[in-house]
Symmetry: C2
DNA sequence: TTAAATGCAAAAAATTTGCAGACGT
DNA sequence: ACGTCTGCAAATTTTTTGCATTTAA
């Protein structure tokens, strides 16, 4: 995954096979918990240790390379940092999807009534996905 | 706290001093983590055990009596269930406040693009509170 | 070559469980 | 009186840490 190697190097994070495995896995599955990540990587990389996954998730989070998604009622999931976006979760099958929504107006209002300088917005919607509605 | 006793009874949750202490504490401080709750209650009720706090938080969450607020970068906080609202967090001092915002339009859009039936909305804004801006 | 990363095992922290006795209804 | 709740201790689960060794640059 050439594109990630250079991104890691830019941030002066050493490129190790373990890190690439984490990044590739997240690039493919988008939202995974620590344990899911560990299990997935072990298949291709049996010697990886859970501690390494933890250390790297923490390190890459500090670098802003990875972000935590705190889904209500689920373990935290992790994703590669992309442009800001919201999440929609199926309460039925647990799936988490990205969704682009314009929060400009809401944020504006919030800033006005609260007098906070708002720097981040985290919106998570929960419901039933089309697939689960069908069945 | 008469009002909470009857609410608990309605949901067929036995009214114990420990439960009332939890509810009173949340009524006063609004957003507390498990550990904060435990420490606060111990002052008035030294014999309470941490396990009891956990059990009761879980029980009351199942009853919809209490809700978890998963603030980014902080331990989960708990609050008494009120009418739906959003949260605003100061990244500086850690304070969590309720804020009423109209998410109707955003939710509508989200439903349209995602084809989900949306049942819950969790919005957490992060920024710097007026007090921290001043100092 | 050298600082940083890995993997292991051990430690620490967070949460849950089992059970005897106490308590609310 | 009965079934639930409490508090304790122990068991699990989750996350972090220390350290000898390996590895990327």
């Amino acid at each position: 995954m050439q594109k990630y190697e250079s991104l890691l190097r830019e941030r002066k994070i050493k490129v190790t096979p373990q890190r690439l495995a984490i990044v590739e896995e997240l690039d493919g599955h988008i939202h995974l918990s620590i344990e899911e990540l560990y299990e997935a990587i072990k298949k291709k990389f049996p010697s990886i240790s859970l501690a390494t996954v933890y250390k790297n998730i923490n390190a890459m989070m500090e670098q802003g390379f990875i972000e935590e998604v705190r889904v209500p009622g689920q373990k935290s999931k992790y994703e590669l940092t992309k442009s800001p976006h919201s999440h929609i979760v199926c309460g039925h099958c647990g799936k988490v999807e990205d969704i682009d929504l314009d929060l400009e107006k809401v944020t504006q209002t919030a800033a006005n009534v609260s007098h906070y300088d708002i720097t981040e917005k985290t919106l998570i919607l929960t419901g039933v996905c089309p697939k689960c509605k069908a069945s």
